[in-house]
Amino acid sequence: MSTVKKFLFLNRKAPYGTIYALESLEVVLISAAFEQDVSMAFVDDGVYQLLKGQKTDGIGMKNFSPTYSALGDYDITRLYVEKESLEARGLTVDDLMDLKWEDEDDDWAEKDSIIVVSSAELADIMEQQEVILSF
């Protein structure tokens, strides 16, 4: 009926202050509902979207970070985080949420969704995509 395309959603901005991160997440969930091959990449300030312990009470916005934990249910199992962007901000993967997905073909084993990649590796991944949407 329809062909499955490889989509990569590229996230470059901090989670709050602009609407980009939330909009990206919504489009990601929509495209997954259409059973496309979806992955996400987080570079520059976009890495802040995956930080642990986000609290938004003070800025009057909904904390949507728990939604990233639902991505595995939507078969979105590859969240690429650029190593250089983490390092430039003094962050490591331990500062990020512990996001998992369950592999149905491997007796529901829990696997890490976050994959830290170098800038060069990310370039290769981007090369393999059919559609890249930048937020």
Binding site: E26, L29, I30, A33, P66, S69, A70, D73, Y74
Partner: protein
Amino acid sequence: MASIELNGKSYEVDEEGYLANLNDWDEDIAKEMARLDGAELTDAHWEVINFLREYYDEYQIAPAVRVLTKAIGKKLGKDKGNSKYLYELFPYGPAKQACKYAGLPKPTGCV
């Protein structure tokens, strides 16, 4: 904005009948919404509605129907985690209709 009046309380709803404010939700409004649709809520309905409320509480989204079906199957058993069972309970679409009664927004990606 439209509203549903019940027991002297006013519940604001959007143009499709979804609650405007998540915190307004109670079991009475769920029953009233079902009544307006000509449905009656059984324990089987409540099981799904309560599941959706817990899901929203944890992930801050209403799940798409495919995700809902899979998750129900995992939590409540394979005999319930299929679209036939869920569509029998919620003929207008399990995600759409059950989310409405659960006081959640319409599922993301649901048109």
